[in-house]
């Protein structure tokens, strides 16, 4: 008894020492790594200050010629269409997989449990790959088509939405569900009359947030050569036409604000 006590105390002391040492080593490594960064001219482009100033001053005014506005509107429309199609598909897939993954369709027998686990696994794979990587895959498969963008957005977003939906559907109070069960409702009816209405406000709020992200994602698909706002921004940047870049950026912000406004209105009408 006494012996184990002593070794324990000694062990604890050694553990503390080790921990302090480890902290010191890590802190040292951090400081050292800072010296590894080249703070000199290498990282900041020489004359970058001037270019940045030029970029900022180009905001006054942005490019507002009718011809360019027309182009910006067309590009925004393209991006919006990709985002809407992508998120719509993601909603449908995410809801279906999320419901299965939540296991709320039945008492978890062995096979049901296996199916729920499989759905969770599938969702994890879908969301662990970035939309741009999916885009590269789909562009390779289908060429530079809208289908490629829509799928590239839909799949990872369905993975994220499905995961969140399954949590929200499980995270509802038991009282109302028991009430429905005592009226003879099967798990599927409990889902429709209980879980979904109880979780709906949160599900919609989160989906709108993801819709905003989908707009960003659709814009950045220019990296794999897909047209839209990002594509035009890239072209203007290459030509150093900063006032055009500003116009396009303002359109992008406009799209996101539009979704935000819509989201607020929908949530207000749901009376949350």
């Amino acid at each position: 008894m006494i012996w184990t006590g002593v070794t324990k105390a000694r062990g604890a002391a050694r553990f503390l020492e080790t921990r302090r040492l480890l902290t010191l080593v890590l802190a040292g490594a951090l400081v050292w790594s800072l010296t590894g960064v080249d703070w000199g001219g290498g990282i900041v482009h020489t004359g970058g200050g001037n270019a940045f100033k030029e970029f900022l001053t180009a905001l006054f005014p942005p490019e507002l010629s009718p011809g360019f506005l027309k182009l910006a509107i067309a590009a925004s429309w393209q991006t919006l269409v990709h985002a809407v199609a992508g998120i719509t598909l993601a909603l449908a897939i995410g809801l279906a997989l999320g419901v299965v993954a939540s296991g709320s369709l039945g008492h978890l027998g062995r096979s049901r449990l296996a199916i729920a686990v499989a759905a969770r696994f599938l969702l994890a794979i879908m969301r662990s790959i970035h939309e741009l990587v999916w885009a590269v895959l789909f562009v390779t498969a289908f060429g530079l088509s809208s289908l490629a963008v829509v799928l590239a957005i839909a799949i990872p977003y369905a993975g994220i939405l499905g995961r969140i939906y399954s949590e929200l559907l499980n995270d509802v109070p038991d009282g109302p569900l028991d009430g429905l069960r005592s009226s003879g409702a099967s798990p599927a009816k409990v889902l429709v009359y209980g879980r979904i209405p109880l979780a709906l406000t949160d599900m919609i709020g989160y989906s709108f947030y993801r819709f905003e992200c989908a707009i960003r994602a659709a814009a950045i698909m220019s990296f794999v050569g897909i047209r839209g706002l990002g594509y035009e921004i890239q072209l203007s940047l290459n030509d150093l036409l900063f006032s055009e870049v500003w116009t396009l950026l303002l359109f992008l912000v406009g799209l996101v604000l539009l979704v935000d406004y819509w989201s607020t209105r929908v949530r207000r009408s749901l009376g949350s």
């Binding site: 109302p176 028991d178 009430g179 005592s182 009226s183 003879g184 409702a185 009816k189 009359y193 709906l200």
Partner: protein
């Protein structure tokens, strides 16, 4: 004789949660049309007993026969919901749904899945909902969001749901605990009226002696998962109630 008249036959009903014995081997026989009040301090097992009678949680041991059929043999859904229904404190409604959908939930045991789905979008059997709500005095609330209603009104919605379900046995878990005395009396009156309609059985847990004397015919005292008494309401004395609740207080300290 008793077998034919009784609607609930429980033998050795037992339920534990880990080390906690919520119900220890209870025998319970309830006849058709009886009005039973369940009393006892909190934690005594009232909710557990009602949930077991409602078929919502499984028994550890014992045998429960409802309307001469073992509860395990009753198909959940249609068959079970025709026999038992449960009202809890207002927690059991879905606050986000309009009143009519919460009332129609009483039909879910009878309806198929497709019909249930369709009714969520365009409500079926509106006429029956109007009828039930009118009887309870809140027909004007039919399309309101349930969360907008007061506690007493929500309790009426729960009763309306029970009226559409129309089970032979009505179980009510502290249906009036969150209401002021006047409203509590009103809700109990409505609940027992609905039960009396077609000789339904009602078992309700509640604490107010004057309401028990007025609306019930039999009282069961529960403490630590055991029946302390099971008597006609005429024999309910203040001493008996005090003993039931006081004993527990002494036990806890």
């Amino acid at each position: 004789m008793t077998a034919a008249a009784s609607i609930i036959e429980g033998r050795g009903l037992a339920k534990s949660y880990g080390a906690i014995t919520a119900l220890s081997s209870l025998d319970l026989t309830v006849g058709r049309g009886e009005r039973v009040a369940l009393v006892g301090p909190s934690g005594s097992g009232k909710t557990t007993l009602l949930y077991i009678l409602a078929g919502l949680i499984p028994l550890d041991h014992g045998q429960l026969v409802l309307r001469s059929k073992p509860v395990a043999d009753l198909r959940p859904g249609k068959e079970l919901s025709e026999i038992v229904g449960l009202v809890q404190q207002q927690l059991d409604l879905v606050p986000q749904l309009p009143v009519i959908q919460n009332v129609l939930a009483g039909r879910l045991g009878q309806w198929g899945l497709l019909r249930s789905l369709a009714s969520m979008f365009s409500a079926h059997e509106r006429g029956e909902v109007v009828e039930a709500l009118s009887r309870l005095g809140i027909a004007d609330k039919i399309d309101e969001r349930t969360s907008q209603l007061s506690g007493g009104e929500q309790q009426r919605v729960a009763i309306a749901r029970l009226m559409l379900q129309a089970p032979r046995i009505i179980l009510a878990d502290e249906p009036v605990s969150s209401l002021d005395p006047a409203r509590a009396e009103e809700i109990l009156r409505l609940l027992t009226e609905v039960a009396a309609d077609s000789d339904r059985t009602i078992i309700a847990s509640l604490h107010a002696p004057e309401l028990i004397r007025k609306y019930f015919s039999r009282v069961i005292g529960l403490r630590e998962g055991k029946f302390q008494f099971d008597i006609p309401v005429q024999e309910l004395t203040t001493q008996r109630l005090d003993a039931l609740y006081d004993l527990d207080r002494r036990h806890q300290s």
